[in-house]
Amino acid sequence: MKLTGATVLEGVADALRDQVSPQLSDAFASEAARMAQSLIAIVGRAGDDAAAIRVEENARMRAIFAEAASVAGGDLSAQLVEAAQSSDPGLRISELDAETGRLRTLLVELHRWLEQQDSPEARVLDQQIWRAMREFEMARAPRA
């Protein structure tokens, strides 16, 4: 059986909680070890689906941009078309995060523009963005 990174981190977290923290007489150090255990547990559980979450989030934003491009006009519409047709530059977390950052900046611009419109299409898209943001947030929730 192959030892995974997640299992190693789980073991380290358990050791900090059960073996290290109880042996520390200094309250500040003991508390730091306990919090380090919690941090390692959270990070360990975030590894497996980290790329999948980012790929899905980026794809969802591109789908929203594709839909919004026909509602928006001018420069914003051109930016939306370009972003809708873009793809992730790679599968490293740093690459996906940079792309998420680029797409989120445009999402904020689109959201701001939609809030200033009166049309039913804009209202639908506005609400769609809020629902997508909830899904993004819940997918990234710390798991401990």
Binding site: A32, L39, T105, V108, V124, W130, E137, P142
Partner: protein, 338 residues
């Protein structure tokens, strides 16, 4: 190399020229505010034939923290609020010269009692939640009743302002987000736009806002009294509803121990002000944005290596998500999600 104990003793001897044989021991670091390093210690000295002893707290500026605190802010506030009905420790010495302990610091009394912890306990007040809750709201109301200008606190952020507190504070925390965000959080930005488009009315009066009034930032004793309100690093002048909204934040609210309406009635009696419930709702969304800004700054300081405290990283990971989710819930109540 001189120990921290000996360096503190040297400083105390400098500040107390009539003392002899100043010694410091029983020094330990404690979690007390995430922005400043906090140490407790015992100081002993002689004055003539009399032996003196005091338990004290040292608060030293960090290299980086959750918030950019002015170095003399807390000391100034502790000094101004002494004897005003809000329990605070006596603040003794403020030192801005880095020659003594490398960074600015101040020394104040160690107060009796313990802080509650909002993570990990359903009963942070050890069976005295009702009493603590009543005192919690009474002290906050007493704070709101103070005249900050008369106390010499016009130097606080917004201290000279007479209106527009909501906009000033929103701009302040938005700038913190701009500086700390690696990539933008559309949820938080959506909330900021809503807040700007739906401003609250002006407050009945400007008030001293503690800025972080919650479980963990005060000490309680066995009978449920609050012996000291601590961690005034984010103190400023604002609408008094800001501190109320922060205190009601579901991450640490005392509502679990005391019904909110009873708490607000105590606040109204102590402050002499009425709580505008509709305006309070605006401030409840605002404090979620503020929380995200605080923990985004924390996240950034851990990421760039200027603060590597476990509490900073752990709270940032939990609190940022918690408050973005809280924003989503509040925006949904406002009909944003349809």
């Amino acid at each position: 190399m001189a120990t921290l104990e000996s360096r503190i003793a040297e400083y105390l001897a400098h500040r107390m020229p009539d003392s002899q044989d100043v010694a410091v021991d029983d020094l330990s670091r404690i979690h007390g505010g995430s922005s400043q390093e906090t140490f407790r210690f015992r100081a002993q000295w002689r004055e003539g034939a009399a032996r003196q002893e005091k338990r004290l707290i040292l608060r030293r500026a960090p290299e980086a923290g959750l918030v950019v605190a002015e170095r003399d802010l807390e000391f100034t506030v502790y000094s101004a609020l002494a004897g005003r009905g809000v329990p605070v420790p006596a603040a003794h010495y403020l030192e801005l010269d880095g020659q003594w302990l490398d960074r600015p610091f101040f020394i104040m009394d160690l107060m009796p009692g313990k802080p509650g912890h909002f993570f990990g306990s359903d009963d942070p007040y050890e069976g005295k939640g009702t009493e603590v809750g009543r005192n919690f709201w009474r002290h906050l109301g007493t704070l709101a009743a103070q005249d900050h200008a008369a106390l010499g606190l016009s130097g606080l952020r917004n201290g000279d302002a007479v209106s527009g507190f909501w906009e000033r504070e929103l701009l302040h925390w938005e700038a913190m987000l701009d500086a700390g965000e690696d990539y933008v959080e559309p949820i938080v930005r959506g909330a900021i736009r809503w807040l700007r488009a739906n401003p609250p009315p002006e407050p009945a009066k400007p008030a001293i806002a503690h800025g972080d009034y919650r479980c963990g930032n005060f000490l309680f004793v066995a009978d449920g009294s609050i012996s000291a309100v601590l961690d005034w690093e984010m103190c400023h002048v604002s609408d008094p509803l800001e501190d109320i909204a922060w205190a009601m934040n579901p991450m640490w609210t005392v509502e679990r121990h005391l019904p909110l309406e009873e708490g607000l009635a105590i606040w109204e009696e102590a402050s002499g002000l009425a709580v505008d419930r509709q305006a309070l709702d605006w401030w409840r969304l605002f404090v979620c944005v503020k929380a995200c800004a605080i923990w985004t700054t924390a996240e950034a300081s851990f990421q760039d290596g200027t603060n590597r405290e476990m509490i900073v990283a752990l709270t940032a990971m939990r609190a940022n998500h918690f408050h973005r989710k809280e924003i989503l819930d509040r925006m949904e109540q406002r009909g944003a999600v349809g």
